[in-house]
């Protein structure tokens, strides 16, 4: 389960997502910015996945710039 800090960080990132961009996750559906924010705030499976993916990216980004 993500920490509150991770959740806040990801929500801040999602707030910058362009309005016309969406994430498709197969037959789970397509999610735009507002929908992803809702998923993360409500700690759904999709929300947890979004946090995991963004946090993994941030960690790997840190490695890349070292």
């Amino acid at each position: 389960m993500a920490s509150e800090e991770e959740k806040k960080l990801v929500l801040a990132r999602l707030a910058t997502m362009p309005l016309d961009m969406e994430l498709s996750l197969g037959d789970t559906g397509s999610f735009d910015r507002e929908q992803l924010i809702h998923e993360v705030e409500n700690e759904t499976k999709v929300g947890d996945l979004v946090i995991t993916v963004y946090m993994n990216y941030l960690r790997s980004f840190k490695q890349r710039v070292r």
Binding site: T16, E22, S24, L25, G26, D27, L49, V53, N56, Y57
Partner: protein, 217 residues
Amino acid sequence: MAVFLITLPNHDDLTDYCSKWSTEILKTAQESLHQTKKLEGSEANRKNFESKMTNFNPSFVVLNGHGNSKSVTGHANEAILSCDESVKNERLSKDKITYIRACGCGSELGNACITANCKSFIGYKEKFALIKSKNMVSRPLDDERAKPFFEVSNQIPIAILKGNTVEEAVEKADIKLEKEIQRLMTNDSFLASHIIPWLLWNKTIRVVLGNKKATIG
């Protein structure tokens, strides 16, 4: 010259994207002089799939569609290759290289295919992610946000069609991934921060089973 089979369902936005972006794969198959069998749109059903697999015995199969841990679907989400008891036709993958661009198949279905003597299986064990633009559904090939997802994943079947081993094909996809990451970060780091995480996710969930040295020949 080998026989190559590809499914191209297009009944919803996502399958339409996958099928339209498979154009490069088809072009490579033609240029490499392989005999290509396509199941497009409503033709991508189980009956046709099983018939083509049995009658033409392709050595390389690419399946676009939706999926879960046990099945990949074709038109209207009908399971066309599945280890679920209701279908149980994974034996059709025997001696073939099978690439499934769908969610989840890399887990149970992949293992079932290998047990059924599939030569090599490449798939994804979780949800395959795609970033796209809401206003591009009628023109998927113009969607610059979706482009990296397909240019990376297409490398696998393209390299296999050109005679590379499965292992080499996956390496080429990873090289393409790195190039796309660099390109995105250089051109638009803001947009990159929303696209790259999901490109990396697709690599994380990718599975390669069976003989990694397998080739289409």
